[in-house]
Point group: C2
Chain length 209, copies 2
Amino acid sequence: MRTLYDYFRSSAAYRVRIALALKNLPYEREHVLLLENMQNSQTYKAHNPQGLVPALEEDGVTLTQSLAICEYLDEVYLEPALLPVDALGRAQVRAMALSIACDIHPLNNMRVLRYLTQTFDVTADEKDDWYRHWIDVGFAAFESHLSRTAGLYCWGDTVSLADVCLVPQVYNARRFQYDMTRYPRIAAITEQCLSLPAFHLTSPEQVSS
Amino acid sequence: MRTLYDYFRSSAAYRVRIALALKNLPYEREHVLLLENMQNSQTYKAHNPQGLVPALEEDGVTLTQSLAICEYLDEVYLEPALLPVDALGRAQVRAMALSIACDIHPLNNMRVLRYLTQTFDVTADEKDDWYRHWIDVGFAAFESHLSRTAGLYCWGDTVSLADVCLVPQVYNARRFQYDMTRYPRIAAITEQCLSLPAFHLTSPEQVSS
């Protein structure tokens, strides 16, 4: 019995949906409606004191933090591996994943955007500029990193944890009308990933909200 | 030959200094002076396109992202291990580490604070409120998590990657006059860690700037 506490548009939750799909693991979805603030309910916080999605409950144990969940799935369900076998390769893939998970996504999630508009009174345009700024800074470095590592995917010709993080971030960027032509390697890898059912069928447009 | 691209007050760099010290690995320090914007120099960006510290150069290869570096060190230099042996334990420790590395620290680093003051014209007081807000939200959840996992350290009685992330974050909190008495478990674990040379001798006050 496996339950994903999920929100269709959460890019951290989308990462876990991709990882579960790549490993062909069945699960039930429990909807945590962020627009209704369900992530801060007592019921949900009993699962995840951080009040963030996703969380994954497996055999009665609840795991949190999307990258920790993906690493767990990768350690317990070996095929297909989300990390290279060699330590240097693993470090490179993790660094790419973390450059999105630490340095782009947390700056742009809902609770932060709410703080900006509600406490600092920033306008909608200023908020959008902020959103695109951190994507831009992050993607510029990511594109540069790809020049050293990429093949069909972020790490050679094998899907990895870096792709699992990249595709949801590109989804977010497109929602904010971000011009992806500036980063042709990122755009090409994203298209390649989205040709795979594990990325396509788990995308926010495809799953029920 | 191992070189750490370091800044004494960077809490991400402090994490790597702790990990290197725990594993008793020698290294040279290259100072990347953030106040002089050296992280954005062409020289440094050749090492790390993200323009963030730390980076670790080992035998000519440069690794980035502090958690990826710590995981690399843990895979190559086994003792003492920074992660438990079982997958569930590893997931819990990684989740604690990531709750700091993703959900507190990136919101409070220098480039973000500069954006707030320079683009949104927030006052010094408003900036400090922002800084403490994200610490508060993150530490409240971390303290709750500790009630299920902690012993002398975040994960039982063994030092782990969670402690490696926690202590630098507490250092930052104290710099901003954050009242740590609200979180007695975090405060006690931090004191315990700082009684160890690997945490104490690598702290910003102890290393040269």
